[in-house]
C-alpha cells in the first residue's frame, strides 16, 4: 500500500493532457509587464525609472523587508512605464513594463546546460544567494523561500521534503521538470540540505507519474541521503501539511509551521530555481508553465520569461480556442480565474488552463444542504465545511473561530464534493478573512 495522508481528500479526474510534451522555450514577446508584488508579503520597491535600459537578470525591484522578494528583469530592453496593470489577481497593481530589445544577459550568469555539482559556498552564503535571486515558492503559494530556509534558533530540521506531488489535475510542469532536469534538481536538493542541515531529503511524487518516479530513483543513487517515495494519488496531497503527514507521519500543529515538526517543504520548481541561483548565478527570471485545457490545440509545457502576457502562451499552444469560457491561472482546484488574457505570467503561475464555456459555469446550486456529510468526509483538515458555510452566510464570524476556520487551506475539496453544488468554499473563504481580521484587531 502506497503512502498517503489519512484524513479527507478527493479524487478529481486527472486530465494530464500535456504530460508527454517536453518543455519548450517560449519565444520572447514584444514587451513584458513584471508586477512588483508576485509573492506573499510586502511588495518590492522598484529601483528603475521610466526610460532606463535593463538587461536580463538585472535587479529592477528590491525586496522590502524580511518577508518580501527581489524582482529581476526577465528581458533586456527599456522600461516603458511603472503604471498599474491588470494582473492575474484581478486587480490593477503596480508593475514594471519593459519593451524588449535583444536578449542581453547580465555578466556572471552561466547559461550553459552543464550541471555543476560542487557546492562551494557555506550555508550562510547560500541563503544570501537564494535571497538575492528573489526565489519564492513556485508551487503557487509564492512564499519567499529564504524565509523558510532560515531555521529559527532552537529548532532543527532533520528531514527536507521535496514536493513533486503535483496533485492538481491538468498541471504537468513539475512532472516534466522532474523528467528533464533530474540532475539539476538533485544538486538543488543538496544545496537545500546543506542550508538546512538536514540529513535526509524525501521526494514525494504521486503514483500517476511513474516515469518520473523511476527516473528520479535512478538519478538519486548518485546523491547521498535523497530518497524518492511514490504516493497514492489523492488531492490535496501537495498541501504542505498533508505531504508531511503522508511521508513522515508528523502532524503540523494547528497554526504551526512545518519547522515545528522538524521539516521544511520545497517544491521541485523552487528547488530547481535554487540550483540555478546558487550554481549558475541566475536569478528567478523564468519558469515552467503548463498551458492546457479542453480545446487547446497543442497543450504543452513552456519555459516562460516572467511578465510575458498569458496571451502569448496561448498563442504558442495553438491560439485561443473558439469556445473558451474561463481562463484559470493555476490548477482547477485552487487556481484563480483571470479576467484578461493580457495578464502577465508571474512567479506563481504553474499553469494556465482554458475551459470551454460549457464547463465554465458552475452547476446550479440546490436550494439547501442535505447534510450528507460529504464535505466533512472530504475536508483534509478535519473541519466541518457545511457548518462553516452556514455560519459565514449568517455572519456569525465569532462562532467560526472555535470551529477552526483558520486551519482551512482553501483546497476546495468541500465545494468539489458537495452534491448540492453549494459554494461552500466561497463563504468559508469570506468567513476566514473576517476571522483573521478579528484576530488582528484583537492583537492590536
Amino acid at each position: 500500500m502506497l503512502k498517503t495522508f489519512p484524513k479527507g481528500g478527493v479524487h478529481p479526474a486527472e486530465k494530464k493532457l500535456s504530460a508527454s510534451r517536453p518543455i519548450e522555450v517560449l519565444p520572447l514577446p514584444e514587451q513584458v509587464s513584471i508586477p512588483i508584488a508576485q509573492h506573499i508579503g510586502t511588495p518590492a520597491t522598484p529601483v528603475v525609472a521610466k526610460g532606463d535600459s535593463v538587461r536580463v537578470g538585472q535587479l529592477i525591484a528590491k525586496s522590502n523587508g524580511f518577508v518580501s522578494a527581489n524582482i529581476h528583469s526577465s528581458v533586456s530592453g527599456v522600461v516603458e512605464s511603472l503604471d498599474p496593470i491588470l494582473d492575474s489577481s484581478g486587480y490593477k497593481k503596480p508593475a514594471i513594463t519593459i519593451k524588449i530589445e535583444g536578449d542581453e544577459w547580465m555578466e556572471g550568469i552561466d547559461r550553459t546546460a552543464d550541471v555543476k555539482k560542487e557546492i562551494s559556498l557555506s550555508a550562510e552564503e547560500l541563503i544570501v544567494k537564494i535571497n538575492e535571486a528573489g526565489i519564492v515558492g513556485l508551487g503557487g503559494a509564492t512564499f519567499p523561500s529564504h524565509v523558510k530556509l532560515a531555521v529559527p534558533k532552537g529548532k532543527k530540521v532533520d528531514v527536507l521534503i521535496i514536493n513533486g506531488v503535483e496533485c492538481e489535475p491538468y498541471l504537468t510542469s513539475d512532472h516534466r521538470l522532474m523528467l528533464e532536469k533530474a540532475d539539476e534538481l538533485m544538486v538543488g536538493i543538496m544545496v537545500l540540505k546543506k542550508v538546512l542541515g538536514a540529513e535526509r531529503a524525501l521526494i514525494g511524487i504521486e503514483n500517476n507519474k511513474r516515469d518520473a518516479i523511476a527516473h528520479l530513483k535512478n538519478v538519486s543513487t548518485g546523491y547521498p541521503g535523497i530518497e524518492v517515495y511514490p504516493l497514492r494519488v489523492k488531492y490535496p496531497q501537495g498541501g504542505e501539511k498533508q505531504l508531511i503527514k503522508a511521508l513522515i507521519k508528523r502532524e503540523v500543529p494547528s497554526g504551526g509551521l512545518p519547522i515545528d515538526v522538524g521539516t521544511v517543504v520545497h517544491n521541485v520548481g523552487t528547488t530547481l530555481a535554487v540550483y540555478e541561483a546558487v550554481q549558475k548565478g541566475k536569478p528567478l527570471v523564468e519558469r515552467i508553465v503548463t498551458i492546457t485545457g479542453k480545446g487547446v490545440k497543442n497543450p504543452g509545457n513552456y519555459l516562460v520569461r516572467i511578465g510575458t502576457p498569458i496571451s502569448k502562451l496561448i498563442e504558442a499552444a495553438g491560439g485561443l480556442p473558439e469556445d473558451v469560457g474561463k481562463v484559470v491561472n493555476g490548477g482547477p482546484m485552487m487556481g484563480k480565474t483571470i479576467n484578461s488574457v493580457e495578464a502577465p505570467v508571474t512567479k506563481g503561475t504553474s499553469g494556465v488552463i482554458l475551459f470551454p464555456s460549457k464547463e465554465s459555469l458552475r452547476g446550479e446550486a440546490q436550494p439547501s444542504c442535505i447534510r450528507c456529510g460529504k464535505c466533512v468526509a472530504a475536508c483534509p483538515m478535519g473541519l466541518e465545511p457545511y457548518l462553516l458555510n452556514q455560519l459565514a452566510q449568517r455572519r456569525l464570524y465569532d462562532r467560526m473561530e472555535p470551529e477552526r476556520v483558520v486551519d482551512c487551506m482553501e483546497c476546495g475539496s468541500c465545494s468539489f464534493a458537495c452534491p448540492a453544488n453549494l459554494p461552500l468554499l466561497d463563504y468559508i473563504r469570506l468567513g476566514k478573512a473576517e476571522v483573521f481580521a478579528m484576530i488582528r484587531a484583537r492583537k492590536s
Binding site: K326, S368, G382, E410, P419
Partner: protein, 334 residues
Amino acid sequence: MNKLLVVSPSPHTHSGESTSRLMYNVVLALAPALAVTLFYFGMGALVVTLISITSCLLFEYLIQKFLLKVKPTISDGSALVTGLILAFNLPSNLPWWIVVIGAIIAIGVGKMSFGGLGNNPFNPALVGRVFLLISFPVHMTSWPLPIESRMSYINAVTGATPLAIVKEGLGKGDTMSVISEQIPSHMQLFMGTMGGSLGEIAAFALIIGFVWLLVTKVITWHIPVSIFTTIVAFTGILWLINPQANADPLFHLLTGGVMLGAIFMATDYVTSPMHPKGMWIFGVGIGLITVIIRVWGAYPEGISFAILIMNAFVPLINRYVKPKRFGEEVKKNG
C-alpha cells in the same frame, strides 16, 4: 475577445455528484427488496407502494407550489425515496386511504413544515409510519402472510410477526424452545418468509441494497454497522444469560425492521450525524433503544421509535461531537 470570460472563485471543477443522483441510487438500492416483496405479497404490495409513492410526490408538489410558493423540487428524488420507504414500513393489506394519510403526515408534517429537504429533524417516512401506528393500531399490526395472500389486497389472510409471537409467548411464560416451534427458521427469516411490513422482511435483499449504497458511496458503513453491532452485542448478552427467556441475537437482527431501519432509515442524510464519530453514537443509541423496546417495552418492535428518538439527538451530537481536527492533538501535547 468578443466573449466575456467567466470569473469565479476556486474550485473550478466538480465531482459531478448531485442530490438527485444520490436519491436515485437509494431507489435502486431499494429495488431488490421491492422485487422480493412483490413476490411475497403481490397485489397488496403493489397497490400500497404505488399509492404511497404517488401521494408523496403529489403532496410535495402541491405544498411547494401552492403553500410555500417555491419551485417544486420533486425531481430531486427525495419524495420518491420517502414514498418508497413509507410503503416499506406498512403492511400490504393497509386500506388505501390510510396510506394517503401516512403520506400527508410524512411529507406535510415530517418534511415540509420544517422547510423541506435538509431541514427536517425527523425521518419523514418514519413520522408517517409512527403516526399511523398510533392512530390505526389494528390496521397497522395485522400482517398478511407471505405468498398465501399474494393475490389479495384488503382481505388477505393475516398472522402475527415472529417478533410478536416471541413477545406474546415470553409474556405468557413460555420458554424459547417452545416458542421457536411457532416461528420460522433463521434461513426463512433471512429469505423473508414471514409476516411483516412490505420492505422489512427480506434481509438478503436489503443487504444487497446496502452493498449497492456502499459501492456507489451514497452512505458510509458506520451507522448500519454500529446498529447491528449494538443489537447483536446487547441481545447476545441477554441470550447468554438466559437462552430460554431471550431470543438469540441473529433472530433479533433478521426480524422486524432492523435491516430496513439500519440501512435505509437511520442513514437518511438529513436526520443523521455528519461524521463517523457522531454516527457511532447515533447507531449505538438506536441499537440500545431498539432492544430495550423489544425486550421490555409494550411494542414487539422498536426500531422506528429508536430512530426517531435518536433523530432528536442529532443536532446535539453534531454540536458537541466534532471530527478530529488536523493538528489538534499535537497542539495539546506540545
